[in-house]
Every structure is written in structure tokens, then in C-alpha cells.
Amino acid sequence: MSDQPITEADLQAYVDGRLPEERYKAVEAWLATRPEESERIAAYRRLAHEVRSAYETMLSEPVPPRLAHAASRRGQWRRAAAVAGWIALGIAIGGPAGWHVRPERTVTQAVPDPAVFARRAAVAHATYSPEVRHPVEVGADDEQHLVNWLSKRLGVKVRAPKLDDAGMSLVGGRLLPGENGPVAQFMYQSQNGRRLTLYVRTEASRNRETAFRYARENNVGVFYWIDREVGYALASADLSREELLRLANLVYKQLES
């Protein structure tokens, strides 16, 4: 009842209009004799109003398409986007070289996520490894900066493994868009110009670990695996499966967390 002492919780509920009528009146009476408290509570009410009006416009803004897509039929959308991207790249770079896209398989069947991962790594490899002048965004001469930048953008510690002993030296790296956020790509090159890329992305479920898996997408071989919060895919169009596996083992050993 109203003879109970007024608590701080009562005052907060008063600000939010969440008190029963009787209690509300008791608080009002209590405040009437306490100008400082009354001023404080009035300020809280004013601020609540200001906070509401400050962000009100967000409610009437059109929803960005990417969010609308994320909210509706997410699975179909993501598969469609993956297929569309793959077809576009197939036309852009694979077409003349005689790559075969098999949309009937990817459209009608839910592609397991790891397979999509390998394919994306293969596409990224096919896109950037032929580049002569701009294979990377940040070169190996600024490796510390490269690694810090990519770590910051991915939100996990990223390292470029040292593969010099295996005849592969770091060219540099770049940032790519991925399904779940930014993806890092490191590029390596041998003395005779054979190229290798390491594709690094963060994983949505952080507790998964997988064995090495191998996939071949068009002429790009990919070994890929997941180590807790990070997924790795090592891709090359220039190396045999055995050579690639040996390098994947080296990379895995160096990056094992």
C-alpha cells in the first residue's frame, strides 16, 4: 500500500509508467516534497522521450534488401546467390576456357555448406591467381600490416603460414566478401610461377573440427578443413593433389590453435 517506503525501483517504474494507480499517486506525493529527486526523475523521463525520438526514424526506414532476404527463405536465397555468383564467374572467366557449370545439380540439391566453402575458395583462386599486376591488395613486404588488417576485419587472429621451405613464398593477401562476413585470401608463389592460395573464413559454429577434405572445382584442387572458429581452404590449379596435400599438412601444423 501507499505507506510502504518508496524505493528506487518504484521511481524507475514511475518513469516508465509501470506503477499501479495507487502506487503512482504515492510516488507523486513523495516527489512533491523532494525537489532534487523530482528534478532527477523528470530528467529521466525527458531522456527516455529523447532516446525514443532520436531513433524513431529507424522504424519507418525501408528495410535494406540484404536484411529482407536474410529474413525470408534464407536457405533458398543463399543457394540462389551462390549459384548466381558461380554462373556469373563461369561466364566471366570460365566460359572461354570451356568450364562447365552444372546448375541443375546446384539448384535442385541443397549443397552442403563445406562444398560451398570449397567452391568459393576455388572461385577466389581462379579469379585472382592469374592476375599479373594485382594479385594481392597488400604485399608480403608489409606482412605485419597485412596480418593485422585481415585479423581486424575477420575478428579472429589470422596468420600467414611460412611455406618457404616447401618452395612457396608469400606474395601477399586480400580481403574478400564471404557468406558470413569478410574472408581473407593469402597468395603464395613458387620460383617457377606456380600459385597457391589459402582462403580463411570464420565459422558460424565455433566448435566444429573436420578432417581434411578434397574437392576439385573445374581445374582447381582444394583441400579444406575447419579448426574450431576458422575454416581454411588451400587451393591451386598448378599443383598435383599430392603436392597440395603436403602443403595442406604444413599449413595445418603451423596454424593449429
Binding site: 518513469v15 532520436a54 529507424m58 522504424l59 528495410v63 529474413a71 593485422n148 581486424k152
Partner: protein, 166 residues
């Protein structure tokens, strides 16, 4: 109405809360997108007939906590990197900018309580359920958040005035 339709309807509210929580539009929309994707992946855990809004805000809270933790893990690498430019502030009004700055300086757990109560107008019980904390904690965080916000908007440290009274 099915969950997908309701999910779409709730996007503006998720965006508003996210915008106030993280301080810029691009990061807020990233948070909303992650939340929607997580919500789809976890939809089987949602019990039909219960409050979808509260459930979604719980998902968003967890996603946000994980994102903040991940960002903090690489902060130590950040010595030579310039801070990301603050985006989206130019198009917002003066009041939003001042409030943004003040709200961003609140401790994260107090900020969440204040915004759920003020923007979402959730009851204290709903806030407690959404954040997974006792209702007493909701009340004390709310009280502290409001006092800090007031002090910042007045440009003085919290409770300084009370201490000066002799």
C-alpha cells in the same frame, strides 16, 4: 501468421535497437543480419505461441555479445591500424549524435537494459528473460544507466552534485 512473416515485420525494431546499441548503421545492419541468420538456424528452438519478439532479442543479444568478444580478441593487434571511421553520423541530427556518444559510453550491460526498456518498452520481466538476468539486476542496471546518461547529457560526472552537498 507464420514466423517468417513476423520475422520480416520485426526487422525495423531490430534495426532500431541495434542502431542505438552499436552506434552506427552499417554495424547495426551487420548485427541484424547475423541475428536473422542465427534465428533461422535456431528456429527449431523457438516454441510456437511464445513471444517471438522476446526470443529474437535474446538471439540478438547473444550474437552481439559474441561479436563484441571476437572484436576484443583482435584489439590487441591494433597498434598501428587507424580506427575505423565513424559512419552514418553526418546524416543524423545533433541530438542523435549527443545521445549516441553518451549511450556508447554506458557499460554494455547497462546499455542493453536501458534500450530494451526505453525503445522496446519491454516490461522488466521481459527484459530479465531476454537478457537472462534476475529482475533485481534489471532494476539496478536501469537505475545506474539512467543516472549516468543524465550526468553525461548535463556534462558532469554522475552523483558529483550529491557528493558536493554539505
Amino acid at each position: 501468421m507464420d514466423e517468417a512473416t513476423r520475422l520480416v515485420e520485426l526487422i525495423p525494431r531490430l534495426r532500431r535497437y541495434a542502431r542505438a546499441l552499436v552506434g552506427d548503421r552499417a554495424t547495426a545492419d551487420d548485427l541484424v543480419q547475423d541475428t536473422l541468420e542465427r534465428a533461422w538456424a535456431k528456429l527449431h528452438l523457438y516454441r510456437r505461441g511464445t513471444d517471438l519478439r522476446a526470443w529474437l532479442f535474446t538471439v540478438m543479444h547473444n550474437v552481439h555479445v559474441n561479436r563484441v568478444r571476437a572484436a576484443r580478441a583482435v584489439d590487441s593487434l591494433d597498434d598501428e591500424m587507424p580506427e575505423l571511421a565513424q559512419r552514418g553520423t553526418q546524416s543524423d541530427g545533433l541530438l542523435v549524435r549527443d545521445l549516441d556518444r553518451a549511450i556508447s559510453r554506458l557499460p554494455a550491460d547497462q546499455r542493453a537494459v536501458l534500450l530494451l526498456v526505453t525503445l522496446e518498452e519491454m516490461s522488466y520481466e521481459e527484459v530479465a528473460r531476454t537478457l537472462g538476468i534476475p529482475i533485481g539486476t534489471v532494476m539496478s542496471r536501469l537505475s545506474r544507466a539512467r543516472e549516468k546518461l543524465r550526468a553525461m547529457m548535463l556534462g558532469q560526472p554522475p552523483a558529483a552534485k550529491l557528493k558536493l552537498v554539505k
